[in-house]
């Protein structure tokens, strides 16, 4: 199902339902390493590319390190929270620390063409498949 926009509420609801539908899917199969580790990720397909989205609120762009090799993606970094020593704490729910997660995708990636965008605490990685991992159209004779 490809999500097309008309009404923004319908879109968000449609998106939520579509995402709910694949929640806990075994798409990664047994290959997923560090399942349930920080950061949690969503994977989408956009044509032949994979798009990986992770929420990293409070992480600075310069504290993020992303590596792509073969069919694996590694997301490393640290999240720090500036604490005011003088302040008294009413509520502390946010967590800080380091993270390192490696994901193995079901296809070889073209590391040279990977692009990353980090905006409003959301990391979006566009991961094009390697040329030899792209599907070929078979002509029927």
């Amino acid at each position: 199902m490809v999500i097309r926009v008309r009404d923004p509420f319908a879109t968000l609801l449609g998106l939520q339902r579509a995402m709910e539908g694949v929640m806990g899917s075994d798409w990664f199969g047994s290959r997923i390493s560090g399942s349930g580790a920080y950061p949690l990720v969503n994977v989408f397909s956009d044509g032949e590319d994979f798009v990986l989205v992770a929420e990293l609120p409070g992480v600075k762009k310069e504290d993020l390190d992303i590596q792509v090799r073969g069919d694996t993606v590694r997301i490393q970094g640290k999240k720090s929270i500036a604490d005011d020593e003088q302040a008294s704490v009413h509520r502390r729910e946010r967590a800080a620390g380091q993270f390192d997660r490696t994901l193995t995708l079901p296809a070889e990636l073209d590391a040279a063409k990977v692009s990353a965008q980090y905006r409003d605490g959301v990391l979006t990685l566009r991961l094009p498949r390697a040329e030899n991992a792209k599907p070929r159209t078979v002509t029927i004779n």
Binding site: M23, F28, V59, V89, Q98
Partner: protein, 131 residues
């Protein structure tokens, strides 16, 4: 300081009683609240919300914060594997301190909204010297 790993945890979905007019999932942002001598500082994690999509209200001592996510960025994407869902954020707090509403200041950096609620002059604690 010893290095600490960030534990992955699910986003908190709002499951309040009563029906809402708005369909879909709402999330409750993880929040820190600090109090300094002069202000109450609220920091909320709202990934995917830009500064134009945040609505902050303080009415009769109740602080309500809403953050709307832009689902248009998912327009051509087809989900194949998901570990979290996306949705708008909302959270309400009762502020027990008198706030100078005119001087409330908010910033959003890397998906974290920080709201500074300066205390009204009469609410600033006076230090009592013991003679």
């Amino acid at each position: 300081m010893a290095t600490q790993e960030v534990a992955a945890r699910e986003k908190r979905e709002l499951t309040e009683n009563g029906e809402r007019t708005e369909a879909g999932k709402l999330f409750s942002p993880y929040t820190d609240i600090h109090e300094t001598e002069r202000a109450v500082v609220v920091s909320m994690e709202m990934p995917g919300v830009d500064k134009e999509s945040i609505d902050i209200r303080l009415d009769k001592g109740v602080l309500t914060v809403r953050g709307t996510v832009d689902s248009a960025r998912y327009e051509t994407l087809r989900p194949i594997y998901t570990e979290f869902n996306v949705g708008n954020f909302v959270r309400t707090f009762t502020v027990s301190t008198k706030i100078d509403a005119a001087r409330i200041h908010a910033t959003v950096v890397d998906g974290v909204l920080t709201i500074e609620l300066p205390k009204a002059a009469e609410a600033v604690a006076k230090r009592i010297a013991v003679s």
